[in-house]
Symmetry: C2
């Protein structure tokens, strides 16, 4: 079986507010959008932002189901770029969770929540290879 994730879908309350975070904050371009959903073509998979109620209905998830804790990471090319991207994300409606600092395992990173509470780590990790198409390879 392929070690493959095809889509990450984030449930959102307000498409305009969410779009601003991803389009103005990260500078990403939608590949498709309508009144309910926006898709972004990512590095080997698709990111979707979808009305929360429609997503919950689609997955038949009721409010009393346990919700997992999770984070998404976007890696950048330098320590300075971490601060810059975090500033852009806050200016585009994101909320600071953790100011950037150096974790024990090396590199530099901070966390921002998007307008719907989805956590984004913005990280500089010199050990990880990211090719020109954004494909990321694990390394110690």
């Amino acid at each position: 079986m392929q070690q493959q994730i095809s889509v990450i879908t984030l449930g959102i309350a307000d498409l305009t507010q969410s779009r601003r975070f991803y389009v103005e904050g990260f500078g990403w371009k939608p590949v498709f959008e309508n009144e309910q959903i926006i898709f972004y073509q990512m590095n080997g998979f698709v990111l979707g932002t979808f009305e929360k109620q429609a997503l919950d209905e689609d997955m038949n998830r009721t409010n009393d189901t346990q919700l997992g804790s999770y984070a998404l990471a976007h890696n950048v090319e330098s320590r300075e770029a971490v601060e810059k991207v975090m500033e852009q994300l806050i200016a585009a409606g994101g909320n600071l969770l953790r100011k950037a600092d150096a974790p024990l395992h090396g590199g530099y990173r901070g966390y921002i929540a998007d307008p719907d509470g989805h956590a984004w780590e913005v990280a500089w990790n010199p050990a990880w290879q990211i090719d020109e198409n954004g494909l990321v390879t694990f390394s110690l």
Copy 2:
């Protein structure tokens, strides 16, 4: 800026239980593991399963912070494979959220929650191209 996500990190309560879901259920192989975290090399990014408390501390997320709703999708090559993978995931500790059926936009899909409540859509979507390396391209 690259349209790039480097890592998806899922917070988990019990590493052994979670490992069983991903290794036996999906049949995926870890690229790294220790007592606190397991990494899987995916299609152009990395999936991490990390002790929930350590993840929450890392992102400075407190319990009262709003948690977003979200789902991850794994696409398979046929309608029959959807049922088969869902059965494997349930046998490996997953919980059924939605039995597989055909959504309005075509294809076939169901939803399983992993042992920590992370929702996985198992989908057959004949419109989407997935190459031999598992790289997924959006298409209508």
